[in-house]
Symmetry: C2
Subunit: 339 residues, 2 copies
């Protein structure tokens, strides 16, 4: 058992945030490195994934997953290397991904982590395009959005970890793809580098008018990561029988006031359209097959993946806030160790 640190550094949730998580919601701890029990592995985390869903996990109250407890290590996906195994399926040196938390060392049930192959792609990609965000894009678009060739697909947070993959898969499925993103760089990126047909800068453009211009036949599939006014603008521009995929609502996660509901929801009636919520964990049994298909597209150069890597576990609180202020470029991950 080889270790790069004598101790385990952890970020624990000290109190529940109101609005954007301020530094005082966290406590940074030095702790003994845990010992794996029977059926468990000890993982040295190399990369910690920063995802919008983490904000929801910090709130009290019923959701699809229980909240992180006060005093608990913050929940996060992470990728790392097995440094000790008491599970027959894993050996020291295996690379794995799982909900390993914002810490350097994680003790986890072998049944709750997945082996990944760093030869297929670098570890950060296994947290992004080949990980939870990629799976979210893949199943949310294909299974819930059900795009047909020639359909117009619109995706918000288009330069983000999920949105960038949604748009590229939609292009592979012969759709017209319009992205909504914040700022000229992100808009340029999704069109020039990812091949979207058009991009709308929600910070500069009238999104409703721009959607009307870029989607003259209406929107067949709207993949929503943001909620709020962009969701309303999309609803106002639906085509008949449109499918709205509710994947997230990042514009609303740090609201301290009431949630903004989509005032234009009656467009669902006018257009006989549907709005359906999705959670990627429902497709867990099919993640392996989806990852293979996505890896094939990556290898063939048909899918582009971009990671925004921030160094050092100390940077966690600031890095998480960057996700909500839209300062990241690509899948945001925190590098906390290496081989």
């Amino acid at each position: 058992m080889e270790m790069s640190n004598e101790v385990n550094h952890t970020w624990r949730l000290a109190r529940r945030p109101v609005g954007l998580p301020e530094p005082d919601v966290w406590s940074y701890e030095q702790e003994p490195i845990p010992e794996p029990h029977d059926g468990e592995v000890l993982v040295r985390n190399h990369y910690i994934s920063l995802d919008p869903a983490m904000r929801g996990w910090m709130n009290e109250g019923r959701s699809y997953a229980p909240p992180v407890g006060i005093g608990g290590v913050m929940r996060a996906y992470a990728a790392g290397r097995v440094v000790a195994s008491r599970h027959a399926g894993f050996a020291e040196g295996d690379h794995v991904v799982g909900l390993l938390g914002v810490q350097e060392y994680a003790r986890a049930s072998g049944d709750a982590v997945f082996k990944v192959d760093p030869e297929v792609a670098p570890l950060p990609v296994h947290l992004g395009t080949l990980g939870m965000p990629g799976m979210t894009a893949y199943f949310g678009l294909l299974e819930v959005g059900k795009p047909a060739p020639g359909n117009t697909v619109v995706v918000s947070a288009a330069a983000g970890a999920v949105g960038s993959i949604v748009g590229q898969i939609a292009k592979l499925k012969e759709c017209r793809v319009v992205g909504v993103a914040g700022g000229p760089q992100k808009c340029e990126y999704v069109v020039a580098e990812l091949g979207f047909d058009a991009a709308i800068d929600y910070k500069a453009d009238d999104v409703g008018r721009a959607l009307h211009e870029h989607c003259p036949q209406g929107i067949d599939v709207y993949f929503d990561n943001v909620g709020g006014e962009i969701l309303d603008a999309a609803l106002a521009n639906l085509a008949l029988q449109a499918r709205v995929v509710i994947c997230g609502a990042i514009s609303q996660y740090n609201n301290s006031g009431p949630m903004k509901g989509p005032a234009n929801y009656m467009s669902l009636l006018v257009n006989r359209a549907s709005m359906t919520g999705m959670l990627v964990s429902d497709w867990l049994p099919r993640w392996g097959d989806a990852a293979k298909e996505l890896a094939g597209w990556l290898a063939a150069g048909q899918l582009h993946s971009r990671e925004d890597i921030i160094e050092g576990i100390e940077a966690f609180p600031d890095a998480l806030v960057k996700l909500f202020t839209g300062e990241n470029n690509g899948k945001l991950v925190l590098k906390v160790g290496e081989d």
Copy 2:
């Protein structure tokens, strides 16, 4: 060609309403009785249907149907008798239903009206349980809501023309049925006379808490006729994989301010649920079969239909307002003639 009047009385839209339609939005006219052209019939209307959708038809702007033009006869379903026919499919004396307008005599294409049999049910029933509202309930519940035996079905405006049929069909399909209605009489009616399992009085009860009590396993199908706070309360109480049918939003139709969007829509994500809009006209080719099944249930005493009949075409503006203030008891129709 027999006629009971020398003239045709019509209600025309004089201006677009803001909020509840005031009397000054209408003009009441005496006009010559029109002559049918080739392919048309002339119908003496006996009953005019008053439906919530009419409020939407009075607004300017894009919807599923064009707005009624300023100066146009108000659009409405009506049932009456053919008094002159220049269409091979109809003879004088046939009873028909169609979008014949708020007037005593209507000239209409024979392709746009349907023959109905007054032996099967009185004409007002052909505007309610066997007409558009019944079709809305039938297809909205069965095709969009897709209730399974044992499911919990909640319907708002439960004592209304659509809601009362939704709940009764859901009972026939072996569901647990909870209605939301305004006032103790309507609640008593849906439970004691229509056989619902429970009713919630939205004027007296905390709807969210009451839904939580009456739907301990969550709501599998919510059939929404009202929008607003009741929709939000239902969203907060969904079961996994729930289906929300968006049929109407009567609480919002007379808003002069902005539409209230459902703030709890992220419950769709948490519960992997869907919210789907429906328009009954999409099932037009299957109306005949549905009407036969509904008529069978009526004849067998398995389905109860109640009509609230107001006398006289002069009463139209006040009668329409009753629909939005919830003063009607059962399907609201205006009697404007007889055989």
